[in-house]
């Protein structure tokens, strides 16, 4: 889709664009499309339909029953949906998930942008430092969260005790009010490198001349950031915010590794509640929950896509 007519004209005839008026028989002119395209699309479509769409539809179907995942069942209409709206524990998991996703998105983007700015500057050992910053990205989230679990539960309290920082002397993971902050911290640690890469790409697309011009005009570095860098990489910011928010709404493994949804009910995410239905004999009820959550994320995605189109960014 990126080829414009300009490049098409400049390109030699052997290039991969279809010249509009060549005597060669073009595929479209003959009214038939090369079957190779179908061979590329159809298997993927079939696999997608079979492994993603069909199970999702089966799930929607069972959300209208009292199916436990096995054994006898019957239709119960919409009562699973009605019951979900009356369930404060489910509501709490929604509140937690959204507060978590919003906070994490904000923090990840601030941290990632700061790191990207630093890594884009002409600093010593830039390549080496970049590598170090990207290590969290290649580690499995579950491994990371188990390591942090140990740090929070054992190492940090011992250190805090020795240095007399009493508020930290008990594990933050055992605190119902602050455990979610630990989850935010670990998620940011794990997710920031990915966002940093996108920001770095954005920063490298900004031509150096605009900064030279700004220097001549006497703009300070903060002014340069606010009036030049930020507007020029806004598209990358939008992408990061959208992808990040969508990902954090489905947060699961980091919570499993850190708190398991506790202490108490403090850090139960929606995804965890949905998954609990499978082992808990609550399959159809949590399927209804999943359908509701799907509709909510669909709505958010549509709004975000609109925003993207308005900004003229393409994913």
């Amino acid at each position: 889709m990126t080829t414009t007519s300009e490049t098409a004209q400049a390109a030699p005839p052997a290039a991969s664009t279809v010249p509009p008026k060549t005597p060669r028989r073009s595929v479209r002119a003959k009214g038939r499309i090369d079957p190779a395209y179908y061979w590329m699309v159809v298997p993927v479509l079939a696999l997608f339909a079979f492994f993603i769409t069909l199970p999702a539809l089966v799930g929607v179907f069972f959300s209208l029953t009292n199916y436990a995942g096995y054994g006898d069942w019957k239709f119960i209409g919409l009562s699973n949906y009605v019951n979900i709206f009356k369930d404060p524990a489910i509501l709490q998991s929604y509140i937690f998930t959204f507060v978590f996703a919003l906070t994490t998105t904000v923090v990840v983007n601030i941290v990632a942008l700061a790191i990207a700015l630093g890594l884009n500057a002409k600093i010593k050992w830039r390549t080496g430092i970049r590598t170090v910053f990207f290590i969290p990205m290649v580690l499995s989230a579950l491994v990371v969260s188990f390591v942090f679990n140990y740090l929070f539960s054992n190492t940090l309290p011992v250190l805090a005790d020795r240095f007399g920082v009493t508020p930290l002397a008990t594990s933050i993971l055992a605190n119902e009010n602050y455990a979610w902050l630990a989850i935010v911290l670990v998620t940011v640690w794990q997710a920031a490198p990915g966002a940093t890469i996108i920001y770095l790409a954005g920063l490298q697309s900004v031509p150096a001349e605009v900064y030279e011009a700004a220097d001549l005009d006497g703009a300070g570095s903060f002014r340069q950031f606010r009036s030049l860098t930020l507007p020029l990489i806004l598209g990358y910011l939008v992408i990061n915010v959208i992808l990040g928010f969508k990902g954090f709404l489905g947060t699961y493994e980091i919570i499993v590794g850190l708190t398991g949804g506790g202490p108490g009910m403090a850090t139960q995410s929606v995804a965890m509640r949905i998954f609990s239905g499978f082992t808990g004999g609550d399959y159809s009820y949590q399927m209804a929950n999943a359908v509701i959550y799907f509709l909510i994320t669909l709505l958010i995605s549509v709004i975000q896509l609109r925003l993207i189109q308005r900004r003229g960014v393409s994913l």
């Binding site: 298997p43 995942g69 119960i76 398991g260 609550d282």
Partner: protein
């Protein structure tokens, strides 16, 4: 756009290639769909899949299976210790043939849905102690009369104590609540942690202090029978509710929690086993499953168990028991005859008694020998006299995050909120499973 120009030379060969690839793909999918229903016998040897629920005894069962196969050359048994595969197996309609499960609400749910075959006419059923069989049938029977599971191992839980610490402080095993509290105070005064707490693993709070105190202060089975009978019509003010019955249990839970070491909130079960085995506390609210772990951590530790006294009348003291392993055969197994023979072998007195003696549990047979393991002899009197209860936590449907609520209560100390949350959850589950 047209990256590949339409090839004129050999369209057939390419198409044939794609076709072949498509067929190969389909062939790869077919065997997946095909498996599951056919009887699994080859060359006259029937293969049984045996799923057992205790990963710590895998090696033990491998030996049992070897002995069984030597006696029954026409049967091969494959052990699967990943209990998490059971429900997926049911969903795929391909469950294992013989299953052991801890018997509680979740398993009772399978029974009610008719997942297991009737074993009431199995010869081994008559050898089981009816009191122990009652623990299984009290959860409800399929069609009102079937025997869906035969108990294999009865675990009795109480307070595990370090005999050396008790002797060094001159403390005797307490038989009343007051004696118990006095013992805790004495340890505390001597600078010893009375009870090692592992609050980070919320299940340890549930099976430990919550179950022990609830079981000791009220008739748990009766309470849940009345509660279940009430169904979705339950309210907080009803005399059957948690709020109306569990009130007296809660202050004692907080009392026990206060006897735990500092920082118990960040310790988990594995930490607890390591620390208690090293003598860092006098008592540990855990069941017999912890004993082998404790000995593994310190082979010289001298342990004993006693049922937690909850009132000041020693005759009220009861042990928490659970049918730790109950044998079932799945109803639709194509290998029924072989499965029944395997169950017969497992319930042979020599096999079942040896297993329980070895694993610090009680045999479910009528004619079981007295236990000699000093780690659990303290519980034997209660078990023999039938002074026991099944833990309150085991009555909850798994969709209620009960352990999280218990942990929440121990941290936040808000008893009213805790009990009304339990009432709400129970009512909501009853509402959506009753329809």
């Amino acid at each position: 756009m047209s990256a590949i120009p339409p090839s004129r030379e050999s369209p057939l060969s390419r198409r044939a290639l794609f076709k072949a690839a498509g067929l190969a793909g389909a062939a790869a999918v077919l065997p997946l769909a095909g498996c599951g229903s056919a009887p699994s016998s080859q060359n006259g040897v029937t293969t049984l899949r045996f799923m057992q629920n205790k990963p710590e005894v895998v090696a033990y069962f491998n030996r049992v299976i070897k002995d069984f196969e030597a006696l029954n050359p026409d049967i091969r048994v494959i052990q699967d210790f990943n209990e998490g595969n059971f429900v997926p197996g049911l969903v795929r309609n391909d469950p294992p043939d013989v299953v052991t499960r801890g018997f509680a609400q979740a398993t009772a749910d399978f029974v009610r849905k008719g997942v297991f075959a009737d074993l009431s006419d199995h010869p081994a059923a008559a050898t089981i102690d009816p009191k122990v069989q009652d623990l299984v049938s009290s959860w409800g029977r399929y069609n009102g009369h079937e025997t869906s599971a035969l108990p294999f191992s009865l675990a009795a839980a109480g307070v595990i104590y370090n005999r050396d610490v008790f002797e060094a402080q001159g403390v005797a095993v307490p038989t009343t609540w007051d004696e118990f509290v006095a013992a805790c105070e004495k340890f505390k005064a001597a600078g010893i942690t009375p009870i090692y707490g592992t609050f980070k693993d919320s299940w340890t709070l549930g099976q430990g202090m919550f179950d022990y105190l609830a079981g000791g202060s009220l008739d748990v089975a009766g309470f849940f029978a009345k509660l279940t009978a009430k169904g979705a019509a339950i309210s907080e003010d009803a005399k059957e509710s948690f709020t109306s019955n569990f009130g007296p249990v809660l202050p004692k839970m907080l009392e026990l929690a206060a006897f735990s070491q500092k920082g118990a909130t960040s310790k988990n079960y594995a930490d607890g086993n390591a620390a208690f085995a090293k003598g860092q506390a006098a008592m540990y609210l855990q069941g017999p499953w912890a004993l082998s772990q404790l000995v593994a951590a310190n082979k010289d530790v001298r342990l004993g168990s006693f049922p937690l006294p909850v009132t000041n009348n020693p005759a009220d003291t009861k042990a928490r028991v659970n049918v730790d392993m109950a044998l079932s055969i799945t109803r639709n197994t194509p290998n029924m005859a072989a499965a029944r023979r395997f169950v017969s072998y497992l319930l042979d007195p020599s096999v079942v008694n040896a297993y329980n003696e070895k694993n610090a549990a009680f045999s479910p047979l009528k004619e079981a020998p007295a236990v000699e393991n000093p780690q659990i002899t303290g519980l034997a009197a209660s078990v023999r006299a039938g002074r026991y209860y099944q833990g309150a936590t085991t009555y909850f449907p798994p969709s209620v995050p009960l352990y999280n609520y218990i942990q929440s209560f121990v941290y936040g100390k808000n008893g009213e909120q805790f009990l009304s949350a339990l009432d709400d959850e129970w009512r909501r589950v009853a509402e959506r499973t009753a329809v």
